[in-house]
Subunit: 740 residues, 2 copies
């Protein structure tokens, strides 16, 4: 049966801000056998859409290889007729878009946004209503979303479940963590899809708040690979006023389907037209490095909505934090009370426990070290009243975010820090009591402005209040963005921990400079992260936005300073340096203690030198679960930094420095694992090799098991900079296999 | 088995503010057969407490008649051992208290608080913890509460259910409404306890938000009566950070038990020690009038916590309200949109629907009439954007509380009103979207201060957001008080509709000048209230605090001005006047339209004259469901006002004016039903009789079916005031059976 489609070809409208050139391009969509097809600008990705027996489907290919089999689309509603079937195509509009935009901070200083678009208007005649499914097809994947225009009979509706499918072309290999409504702090597992079910339970490690829903449930970004080397990555972009997405796998047919986070009533979304879902994204490539280089998710987010971004800046910081995480000191001030009440508990006359980390002397010590070494800010956790019983009690009024402990001189410490060129970084742990945080957020932010803070780390540990809500439900998704917008009103940058997975919203609200939403370095003190953990994160968690991973641990054996804690860090010291490059973030912490850095100031030099904002990023080698090597050029300089992180098997890298400028010489400093380094047996053993390199240099560098390396490449401004340095590289020799 | 009790006798500490004289009085508690007894100051009420097989019980008698049989006490917890059994008495402290306090506004200008107290410390040895049950025994009843002091093993706990029993001494007669977590807007039914189950369903009339839980569930204040004339009233006092209480009846044994409102997870209270439950109260009397005169619930609340109360004042007001309620006009401004989004919907260019009530011309009309007749304020509903789709959509961002419709000149109308000596009264309908209200409450209240509003009517129509929460759960109880305290910070008075039943908190926060929490006059436009409705309310709803009942309807047939609405008001006009006296509130509305009052300006005179704040109140006659006649002396004058409301049978009142000052003469104006008046057939027929009376005067006044009367008694300052007036009363003649 043939249908008459109305194709409306139109010119894409240039985006109002951020774009340099922008033009639209007409093209004709292919129509064959009742299906609508659209190909990416250079034809690598092809998207097919059709309606069969009233049900919408799509499929996708990459360079003529099947990436997604025929996959169903639709939404189930709580009441009345769903949006699952009974559809016919009323209209199919096609357009194309090319634009370049400049992120406020990022891995590049400009990003190309080039796609072809197909918007299909689907009519559901029995219910007298319609919706639009919009596809944007890029050379490295596609995004699709549901749109619900204002209309007579679809104004308010409640989503019971979204049933967007991603039908795999076989039993792929996935890098996955268990699906959960409340935490993403799980280890990654690389397995066949068919193995997920049997591996599921053992992967659900304990967390302060967690809610799994299916033994084949997994989270996004989900990194996938076919046996013949096709890489795919499924996630969502621009998650606004909608529930966060997990995926559930039908492991008979290898079909993933969206599984939204429910609210306290089990409902999955309260919608009011006109509105739309977030984008459902699939990045596809035949080289794993192209997954890391994809900007598809950022491109599918709205341009920056902040008028003035002059106050937003990358931040390199230290913090009174690792000592509490490792149990060396405490967030709490006193052990006098089995529970405390803000405004009632008399802290002034309480007996200090002697372990409180956020005390005046200790904070000054961090400020001094940070100032001496060129940092921007110092985070202080545990500075405010309430930490004695903050976690695990479902306590509503848990913090007021403004009242310091007696031994934390709020005014004095800020004033001291400022005198040393350092800002303190605010910490607002909410204990997941969202109502309480919203009640205090204005006074909290006003306090920050009064004392000169410009960045806040917020936290959502434990079960959500309102009780029954989840970290990734619509309620909390709304809350997180509320806080980011409110912070922008106060010119405050936000780094939210335990929040929903990022979906590229930092493009729209670039004051969202960081998130956690995965197992960070803190888990190295809670039993350890797998040695390959950081080879997964850029393929998964980081697809949505930067992570405050807090690298830079130099002392791996935690029992050496806290005998109670037998955890040890599963990384060599050299790899800790590499993470500043491989784990892109405009917010980078040097997480260890000043006294630990003082033992290795030669290695610490890399942390001092490394940039946090980039003109260009190149992925030199990458394989999820094995290794990642990235090179980045610092904004505003011609200097480059290279980092490599590898799994428990170690790795030999053959680096070609041909990304460097021709005709220039660079002072190259390599921070690498020593020959006998090993993440467990000898983690703090490294070598530093300094020499001169050019774009013709080739370097062979061996990373130890659980190791890695970091390189700084500083442009020589003249021969003086090269005094006493020799050319290095360009032999088959492994450059770091020298005696220490 | 005998136990050794430690009796600690101590002097009650005088309350810091509001009290005139206050002293404590030692007395010895009676101990007999392992039970502890305490009698009220004058011995009328006796309370017995004992522990049998580890379970705590209490019972109560009034003038040696059994009021409550042995009734169990205890709480079931969500986790671990409950607080139901395994108890032994560790300590029993007794004390007494006498004090007099002065309410900011009220039925009296001073209130005696005189009780004997028994605090029993109950040890639960198996769990190594304890709680205190505190009883306060008054001559007109008792209050008891559970207290949880700070201790090692009872810091945080979750209440699964509170099991406080009220064991009835038989199959009593109750004035009840269906138990519900979300609404109290039901008609009262007077029936035997044994009849509740079969009457239940037919009493559950539809509401925008309602959740019943048991076919023998009822709400408090619950008015009860034994066959031999013992009256009891069960309620709660000082409901703070706890779930609102319903009662469930075991109708085999006639035992009521507390049934708390659950949260979204089904939990009934999140507690952190030190803390306590609200008071569970039982007022008892052998004359129904003494139930109305009881101040037990106010006395069990904490003294005023506001330092400055100079800005709090009683309010007599009119409003642009009844015309929307009756359907004559609309809250909404336009019919252009099937749904609206604040900040997106273009109201400026929308087509006005022509029925919007809150327009400049109409508001000025109300302001003028209110100013001409001595009112304080004019409420305007529907002034702000968002009313097009505000109800029934579970819409989160439903109002911003600050953006007026195009035809409401916020600045101009306030300025005009002020020029006429009138304040506008703010309206903040939340549509039960509590998060949204809290997010905007500061800007909303700041707007009020900027434009000179000092009172807000707030509303909670529809299901609560956070979804799954209920109007009477701990979450919302916390919210309502949050708003009242926040309002106090801005010196704003609050009148919250659809909120939890009041529990005397207006003593502690006297800026809470009104609540709805029952079927108000609005239901006269939604099908009508039963003619006896207002003979129940003072015995039930009003026990917890004043109600914004909005009386004063002069035009009973709604179809006369809105043909679409066939409702009619079940009341005579004379009774509408009476309600200003029988329904005590510091906030009194004249709810009808100016043009309706203009038809009956002689009757309207009473509304102009009647006071809204009182030195003294006397209940002349009362029987729940039949009639109530009250007399009140206005503060700051020697004038008295009398009101009487009666049921569908009519009533003949024999009034003795001996409450008047000896030796004084009063100008008495009686507004009574005419001989042929009838709430259905002839509701607007009344007579006005004016004459001179003294304390020796007796008046016989007949109220029509569904009728009533009002009397003003103005002290004559000299003979001139009495010019042309005759003595009236003191014959067996019915004074209002005259020709009109």
């Amino acid at each position: 049966m043939k249908k008459a489609f109305i194709f409306v070809l139109f010119i894409a409208i240039a985006m109002p801000s951020g774009y340099i050139p922008a033009y639209g391009k007409k093209y004709a969509a292919e129509v064959r056998d009742g299906a609508v097809s659209v190909s990416s600008p250079h034809g690598t990705v092809k998207l097919c859409f059709n309606v069969i027996n009233g049900i919408p489907y799509y499929s996708m290919s990459f360079k003529n290889r099947q990436a997604l089999k025929q996959s169903r689309l639709g939404l189930e509603l709580k009441k009345g007729t769903g949006l699952m079937d009974g559809f016919s195509i009323a209209e199919a509009d096609t357009s194309s878009f090319y634009g370049v935009w400049k992120p406020v901070w990022g891995e590049e200083d400009s990003i190309v946004n080039n796609y072809r678009e197909l918007a299909v208007k689907l009519e559901q005649k029995k219910a007298d209503r319609f919706m639009i499914i919009r596809f944007r097809v890029y050379d490295d994947g596609m995004g699709l979303r549901y749109e619900f225009p204002l209309q007579k009979d679809l104004n308010y509706f409640i989503i019971k479940e979204e049933h967007t499918q991603f039908a795999m072309p076989g039993d792929l290999t996935a890098c996955w963590i268990p699906g959960d409504y409340d935490t993403e702090e799980y280890e990654f597992t690389k397995s066949k899809l068919s193995e997920i079910r049997k591996l599921f339970k053992s992967n659900v490690t304990p967390n302060m708040s967690q809610t799994t829903f299916s033994e084949t449930g997994v989270q996004t970004p989900l990194q996938l690979e076919t046996d013949d080397g096709l890489y795919m990555n499924i996630h969502e972009a621009a998650l606004v006023d909608y529930s966060g997405m997990n995926l559930n796998l039908n492991d008979r047919d290898f079909v993933f389907e969206t599984w939204l986070t429910p609210d306290a009533l089990g409902d999955k979304g309260y919608m009011q037209a006109p509105c739309h879902s977030p984008w459902r994204t699939v990045i596809v490539a035949d080289d794993a490095r192209d997954i890391l280089a994809s900007r598809l998710i950022l491109n599918l987010n709205e341009p920056c909505k902040l008028k003035d971004v002059s106050w937003i800046h990358p931040v390199k910081y230290m913090g009174v934090w690792w000592e509490m995480i490792t149990g060396k000191s405490t967030w709490s001030y006193t052990n006098d009370f089995p529970s405390v009440k803000l405004g009632v508990t008399d802290y002034a006359n309480a007996k200090p426990n002697g372990t409180h980390g956020a005390n005046n002397t200790n904070v000054r010590r961090y400020v001094d070290f940070a100032a001496d070494n060129g940092f921007d800010e110092v985070l202080v956790e545990g500075w405010n009243e309430g930490w004695e019983d903050w976690a695990g009690n479902s306590k509503d009024y848990v913090f007021d975010f403004v009242t310091p402990y007696p031994d934390f001189d709020l005014a004095g410490l800020n004033s001291y820090a400022h005198s040393r060129g350092i800002k303190l970084m605010m910490h607002n742990e909410t204990s997941s009591s969202a109502r309480n945080y919203e009640r205090h957020i204005d006074t909290a932010y006003k306090l920050m402005k009064r004392f000169g803070y410009d960045a806040v780390k917020s936290g959502y540990v434990g079960d959500i209040i309102p009780r029954g809500e989840h970290h990734y439900g619509q309620w909390m998704v709304n809350h997180y963005l509320y806080c980011v917008k409110k912070a922008a009103d106060y010119r405050i940058m936000v780094n939210a921990h335990e929040a929903v997975h990022p979906t590229g919203l930092c493009r729209t609200y670039p004051n969202l400079i960081g998130n956690e939403s995965a197992r960070g370095t803190e888990y190295e003190a809670f039993g350890g992260n797998n040695p390959d953990h950081t080879t997964y994160l850029p393929f998964t968690r980081l697809q949505g936005g930067p992570m405050d991973y807090t690298p830079g641990i130099f002392c791996m054996k935690i029992s050496s300073f806290n005998p109670q804690n037998t955890s040890w860090v599963r990384s060599t010291l050299a790899r800790q340096l590499a993470l500043y490059v491989t784990m892109y973030s405009p917010l980078q912490m040097a997480a260890d203690f000043p006294e630990h850095y003082e033992k290795y100031m030669d290695a610490f030099q890399f942390i001092k030198d490394v940039a946090v904002d980039w003109r260009k990023s190149i992925y030199l080698e990458a394989e999820p679960g094995d290794y990642i090597t990235a090179a980045r050029e610092a904004r505003g300089t011609n200097n480059w930094f290279v980092g490599s992180t590898v799994d428990e098997n170690g790795h030999l890298s053959h680096l070609n420095l041909d990304f460097l400028d021709p005709g220039k010489k660079y002072v190259c400093t390599i921070y690498a694992d020593s020959r006998d380094a090993h993440y467990e047996k000898n983690p703090e053993s490294y070598v530093i090799i300094k020499g001169v390199v050019t774009k013709n240099t080739k370097l062979n560098i061996k990373s130890a098991p659980g190791g890695g390396f970091a390189i700084s490449l500083i442009e020589a401004s003249g021969e003086k900079d090269l005094d006493g340095l020799k050319k290095i590289g360009n032999t088959s020799r492994i450059i770091n296999y020298v005696k220490k």
